[in-house]
Symmetry: C4
Subunit: 234 residues, 4 copies
Amino acid sequence: MSNYTYLKEAVYEANMEIPREQLAIATFGNVSGVDRAAGVMAIKPSGVPYHRLRVEDIVVLDLNNVVVEGTMRPSSDTKTHALLYRSFAGIGGVCHTHSTYAVAWAQALLPIPNLGTTHADHLTVAVPVTDVMSDEMILRDYETETGHQILDLFSRGSLNPEEVEMVLVACHGPFTWGKDPAKAVYNSVVLEEIAKMAYLTLQLNPAATAIKQSLCDKHYFRKHGKDAYYGQGC
Amino acid sequence: MSNYTYLKEAVYEANMEIPREQLAIATFGNVSGVDRAAGVMAIKPSGVPYHRLRVEDIVVLDLNNVVVEGTMRPSSDTKTHALLYRSFAGIGGVCHTHSTYAVAWAQALLPIPNLGTTHADHLTVAVPVTDVMSDEMILRDYETETGHQILDLFSRGSLNPEEVEMVLVACHGPFTWGKDPAKAVYNSVVLEEIAKMAYLTLQLNPAATAIKQSLCDKHYFRKHGKDAYYGQGC
Amino acid sequence: MSNYTYLKEAVYEANMEIPREQLAIATFGNVSGVDRAAGVMAIKPSGVPYHRLRVEDIVVLDLNNVVVEGTMRPSSDTKTHALLYRSFAGIGGVCHTHSTYAVAWAQALLPIPNLGTTHADHLTVAVPVTDVMSDEMILRDYETETGHQILDLFSRGSLNPEEVEMVLVACHGPFTWGKDPAKAVYNSVVLEEIAKMAYLTLQLNPAATAIKQSLCDKHYFRKHGKDAYYGQGC
Amino acid sequence: MSNYTYLKEAVYEANMEIPREQLAIATFGNVSGVDRAAGVMAIKPSGVPYHRLRVEDIVVLDLNNVVVEGTMRPSSDTKTHALLYRSFAGIGGVCHTHSTYAVAWAQALLPIPNLGTTHADHLTVAVPVTDVMSDEMILRDYETETGHQILDLFSRGSLNPEEVEMVLVACHGPFTWGKDPAKAVYNSVVLEEIAKMAYLTLQLNPAATAIKQSLCDKHYFRKHGKDAYYGQGC
């Protein structure tokens, strides 16, 4: 019997959204969740196709990457997830995919500009993109350093990870997070959609500019914060 | 028991077309319908995923946004729908989505030119795009003002809302309408398709120009008006 | 009882391929078939959604557009189909759709260049595009004149309709044909795919040029003619 | 009874992945597998639609293209597959498709640059593209010469077919291979995805450059070779 059944089920369900939402082919994505009281995270095992994944395959680790439960090898990106949990105290789930349009922006080394209300409903700034990692960092502890690239970017840009729940890692692809695993993968769905919308917008009009601040704030704050009136308030 | 079962069922069915036709991810769309004799409109509740939506969740309001029936909060875009019903006497349904190509045109701040017969089968002019809203309007009563942006555009352009059943709201996305909720969502499907066709056409040939008037009229009037011969005449 | 059950069933089945192959949204496509011995053609009724279409709805007409069997109004494009049957003696089915990429080329007023073997497997020349129709022709007998535009194009270009089974009508979209209704709709599927491939190729490399003649001929003649060795020879 | 049931089943299953993964329309793809101990290969019969394909239709041949078992004509591309098996001793399956984005690159006569980690997870170099075949080769023995174009390209570029399991044949489309038929078709799925990602990246940023060598190697070697730590190590 597992002590982490609830967490493993939540992580399993969130991972299964990846193929359903066509966020990645093959095994190119992974979702994790954290139980802060228990001091553990749960994550997809490495290289297992989604259609073969079972709840009992989900690997449980402490936040220093030591396996607590499970017989399979955890996702090769586990250290990135772990660092995000250690650094962003308010998040409960992390999702990494290779969704097509988000990867294109990451490979183009360009942030995704905030061009409209679909984007502004979720964040008020461009989706940031990290620098390309230095050779030293790549050779040292690659997956942990991937997390540091994200942390440095958020620190330098004074970005709040509870307001900006998505990032592009240069030459690689998106990481998203949220209050739980389901919200993390939801943010990956949103990111892929706004990545596609921004791509098409700039193909139509290369001079398209960011949404004006007042309209951006209106949309963001009708969905977030104490005066939000979108949704059912729960 | 509801006095508005028929209306709520029609609105429910039309909303369920949004995910079936891939017009929006998540909850990014809403359809309403009006019963002019009863003086009420019905609309999707705010933020409810389509796969959880039930007929009984549909909210009924009068045309001044006062809830008449239903326990859920109505769509955050309800005031826009209501203003359209108050102003466009001939329409019976309104649909708002964030469909990808239509949003791209709205974010590019460009009307969709009428480049061929697929477009001309439905309207004889470009799909119009509103101005970007002023800061004053955004701060005042945003959703009602979104409706006013549409009304002003139609007024200035002398557009007949029974002939032009679709519009792009700048930096935001499409609104469409029609004689009933099903026709409103049908128009959103058509709009997304002509938005994609026009995008591809201009990528192939940036000098592509609008369809000639005689061909445009031929297609429009074989489907609309007293001499129409498309369809089964009912 | 119908005397044309076989023909109506074949036409029904071919029409149902249109939504399955995503060749058109809504009702934007129609397939017909001809029984030359009986002197009749059968075609989809106008404006009927595919999911409501039944075999008994298929309309049978003689080749001068007089209804022989059926209570519904035939496709508004019937006269175009009929003229093609009267003029192209070797064809047994015709398909018209508004498939997205083929329409884009038609709206761009550009023939689809033969850029590779997928195209050359089916025809050795560019997919031709008609001129834009004159105002006189549009006002006279639009659907018959659409057929004349196709015939004139094939005549001027010395194109053999049994070798070139597809055409783009300017500002409108594709017509394809073949030995029977199933082959006609198959050619629409192929056309949409080569239209997309050519679009992407030219976006990647605007200087891309047509496939060399020897490679084109090799591919065409391994599938067609007396020395063909593709398929099972039946 | 067949002596090659296992091989035919594996080849059948891999071929059925082509429509499932939308790698080709109609019949535009074929997968084969080899049993090196038995000295035979098995391949899809020519021109048979996937939904009609049965295990017993798979054709078994020796590596000189002589049919050993089966009543149907093998794929017209059989000689290309056979030459690859004779020349690349380490491969067990070959897949050829006309997947849309890979074909676009092949028609553009451009290698697919290695722009990010999705690509680098699978190979460290650009996906190579052959020269256009000479008229002499086309007329001589086209399908065998297609194989020679691939071999020459790998020889000139000092490419190892166990490290670079994919190639674009100019003006034609992709061939991929792997340790077995399933891996060969998996590589076609990956190729189509990286072809699309690279297309989008260059549309966004025409100046995008290849991934840096250290990052490329990190991703490749965490999945391949003796120090790999991706997957479950089996």
